[in-house]
Amino acid sequence: MIVRKIGVAIGTLFVVVTANFFLFRVVQTDPVAAVYRGRNLSEAKKAELEERFNLNGSKLDQYVGYLEQLSHGNLGYTLNSQPVSSEIAEKLPTTLKLVGTTTILTAVIGIWLGIRAGWRPRSKFDRITTGITMFFYSTSDAFFGLALLYLFASKNPWFPTGGLIDPNSTATGLNRILEQFHHLVLPGTVLVIGYLGQYSLVQRAAMLETSGEDYLTLARAKGLRDSLVRRRHAVPNALLPSITLIALNVGYTIGGAIIVETTFSIPGIGSELVRAAKGPDYALLQGIFLLISAAVIAATLIADLLYPRFDPRVRTP
């Protein structure tokens, strides 16, 4: 079973890689030109570059060559003649910080809201949280970001207008981290509030489902306090879908990060993707798309593999 799941994940990734190759090879007729733009090259050098970029031979040969390159971690060159992989490596930590922090916060707050809302469905708390999360779920992230920027950076200069760190900052160690955190408050807020619904709604539904189960009725009948029943029995079982959701939501959060990084001028993978698309810088676009897809596929696989470990009911023989 595990082998099958891994197989499916690899298959999905393979389709991404293949689509990447054909999609981009259709539009980008001559990747070499992008590299030696503006320079005089000898015929020998050109041939060598074509060799390096696998442009000689049939499309099939080129495709095999492309796979070979990928396996060496070679993603090609940007319009600025920089290796795509190093360009990505530069921007990745920023996005990881943003996405990582917000994912944890969103999950924790969202699950907590969902538990409370789901334990007492149709209570005031339930209606209010459901209404509010629904409202923010319906707001354009871009608009939400602009509104926050207007209120808390422009009108009241409590937070920076953008970026990740002030270059004049001499802060080191913990202070530096705190400063980065200060820069991430507004963009993080957009992501956290905008995506709370993902967790709270699922968690709420899961609570509803478990609260109807016999063993809870039994627990209550035994005279256990309500909050104890909730904490000891209902929550652990209902937590399951949300935990896998963290992994499954990586894709959404990356989408949010693209918008937020653009709105707050944060130099991460998301704003880089937009820059590449506007260029268009095909090699860079291709590389970032591949990376994001691979990350999401890996996360999905992990969720898939973890789920049965947590829930005995879906454990397969």
Binding site: Y150, L164, P280
Partner: protein
């Protein structure tokens, strides 16, 4: 495609080296302790594309090179006249073809290696051999020989009116000789070894780059210890950061924000011009590609020129901070500008444009509002490429589309980034595009770009002639002025060339831009404009401002900025606005909440 400014801030070629104005008041160094570095931070709207001299071409790249590399001769901040640089004296043979430069004694690179005539000869000769495109417009005809450690002999194959001016960046041989031709194409050039007043120490891509004072520079030590350039993707953030004092100066102020900034007593705005202009270029069809046949006809290109209202563009797009375009600008000095007779000046006259097109046989045969070629086929539908990072380009497109529609030409706009636009131009797959140039001091390079030889005939080795326009008369005049040593006669020739360019109209020059910069006058003083009175203070043709600025009051750095800015921008009006917006959001939240409460209640009732 070199040296196009993606924003209308000034580009530069030469580097300031020799000149140290007596006005540079030395700050009281004892006011600062050792770890309190005096940092000058510039907010910029452009990111470095490459610090490699063989492929970078953006304004910000030039600013780093201006700070980091000294040149043989320097330019005066007043009028660009020649000043000693690395070389203290020079002389030529009677025919003007051989020049001998004498370097200062004891020159050192920032890493302590000696800087000798060898470095100069090495740079010039290698740049010719490998055709480094930032160097060849100066060094193309030159051969250099190091006679001894401080003497270099430069021979030109044709008379060159620009000599003895030698403003090509000199690179450290001991660094570059280890980088072969192939490795050089992708070399990041962040070695930080230089001979100018400041050298690169750190580059955080997409965020900032830092330069530290070069203690081995031959000139008088600047007051500033460190220059930081911080990149802002959004114009908003750029301006805000200046207001808040997060940066000390910014490279561009959007026209509509000038008023608000000017009201701030801590901020000084400097409006300067050094020849930068923007154009709507047309593909005249003498090169590669699939440009529309109609644009081969000068009449159509002229009609386009008559259909554009430059006054409106300056007033609306630039908020008045510019001058309507009057032809190609070829020099940072206005002395070279074309003077167009009044009756020949393109003004906004769509009727005239329509008459010209009617007269030349471009009729709208199928009645769809778009003219066809005289044969009655091939409607006049043009592709217009604009730069995706330029708000001005977008605005120009929004005006040009309806204006040209009014004379029966359909325009389809596409936004791409500068690198991609370069490729498209090289392939000739366009009818029109918008971009700008910032000329050097001598008109020769800019003039040379529009000769037939600069038309791209092989996309792998593109030329500069991005109008794909070839004109024998223009070329002949170019060759004459290129070797004309009499200054007045050369000026006449250049004027003639500019007039040919104006009437043949491969470009519709839209405006001459002012660079609007701003700095914190509560913190700094001593900025130097180049050229005097009319030029900008930063991103000029040298680095005089960086060498001369001192903290305001010429002593200790001020510490009042935080308090100052906190008080700024907090009027009652804005307070009310805040309340309004807050209330609006709250109302929405409440409505949303009520709807859902009701909605959930509805469900409950039904059960």
């Amino acid at each position: 495609m070199a040296r196009k400014a993606t924003r209308s801030i000034a580009a530069t070629l030469a580097i300031a080296a020799g000149l140290m104005l007596a006005s540079g008041v030395t700050p009281t160094a004892d006011a600062r302790t050792e770890d309190e570095k005096l940092t000058f931070t510039v907010g910029v709207s452009q990111e470095i594309d490459s610090l490699n001299l063989t492929n970078g071409y953006l304004v910000v790249d030039y600013e780093v090179w201006n700070l980091q590399y000294a040149t043989l001769t320097d330019k005066s901040d007043n009028d660009f006249s020649i000043k000693p640089g690395l070389a203290e004296t020079w002389e030529s043979t009677a025919d003007g073809l051989t020049w001998t430069y004498h370097l200062r004694e004891g020159l050192l690179w920032s890493d302590g290696e000696p800087l000798t005539a060898e470095d100069v000869a090495y740079t010039i000769n290698r740049s010719v051999e490998e055709e480094w495109f930032n160097h060849t417009s100066i060094t193309g005809n030159l051969t250099a020989t190091a006679l001894d450690a401080t003497t270099v002999e430069i021979v030109t194959s044709a008379p060159d009116p620009r000599l003895p001016m030698m403003d090509a960046y000199i690179l450290p041989k001991h660094v570059y000789e280890n980088i072969d031709t192939e490795a050089l194409t992708t070399y990041a050039a962040e070695d930080g070894v230089g001979s100018g007043p400041f050298t690169l120490t750190e580059h955080e891509p997409g965020q900032y780059w830092k330069l530290a004072r070069n203690e081995n520079w031959y000139g008088e030590a600047p007051a500033v210890d460190e220059v930081v350039f911080r990149y802002f993707a959004e114009a908003d953030a750029l301006v805000t950061s200046l207001e808040r004092g997060e940066v000390d100066a910014i490279d561009s102020v959007p026209g509509e924000q000038v008023e608000t900034l000017a009201a701030n007593e801590n901020i000084e705005i400097v409006q300067g011009n050094q020849g930068g202009f923007n154009e709507l270029a047309m593909n005249a069809g003498d090169g590669l590609g699939d440009g529309h046949a109609a644009l081969k006809d000068a009449v159509v290109r002229q009609a386009v020129n008559w259909a554009i209202d430059r006054e409106v563009l300056v007033a609306d797009v630039l908020d008045g901070y510019g001058t309507p375009g009057a032809g190609l600008v070829t020099s940072a000095s206005p002395a070279w500008d074309l003077v167009v007779p009044e009756d020949e000046t393109y003004s906004y006259n769509p009727d005239r444009a329509n008459d010209m097109l009617d007269g030349a046989g471009y009729a709208d045969v199928d009645g769809d509002g778009i003219r066809e070629m005289p044969e009655g086929t091939n409607p006049l539908k043009f592709r217009l490429n604009i730069r995706s990072d330029s708000e001005n380009d977008k605005a120009v497109a929004e005006f040009v589309v309806p204006w040209l529609k009014a004379i029966g030409i359909e325009v389809n706009v596409k936004a791409v980034d500068s690198d991609q636009l370069t490729t498209i131009i090289g392939l000739g797959e366009y009818e029109m595009f918008t971009w700008g140039w910032v000329p050097f001091v001598d008109p020769d390079p800019e003039l040379s770009y529009f000769t037939c030889g600069q038309i791209t005939m092989d996309p792998d080795s593109p030329g500069y002639n991005d109008g794909n326009w070839c004109n024998a008369e223009y070329d002949a005049l170019y060759e004459q002025q290129h070797v004309e040593l009499d200054a007045d006669r050369r000026m006449e020739l250049v004027q003639e060339m500019l007039m040919v360019f104006y009437t043949e109209a491969p470009y519709a020059v839209l405006w001459k831009t002012d660079d609007i910069m701003a700095y914190r006058s509560d913190r700094w003083e001593g900025f130097v404009r180049q050229p005097a009175d009319t030029g900008p203070i930063l991103f000029t043709n040298s680095s005089h401002s960086y060498q001369n600025i001192v903290p305001a009051g010429t002593s200790e750095p001020t510490e009042t900025t935080e308090a100052d800015t906190a008080g700024n921008g907090e009027t009652d009006d804005e307070g009310n606005l805040l309340v309004t917006v807050g209330a609006a959001v709250l109302v929405l939240l409440i409505i949303g909440g009520i709807i859902f409460l009701k909605f959930n209640k509805g469900q409950a009732d039904r059960e």
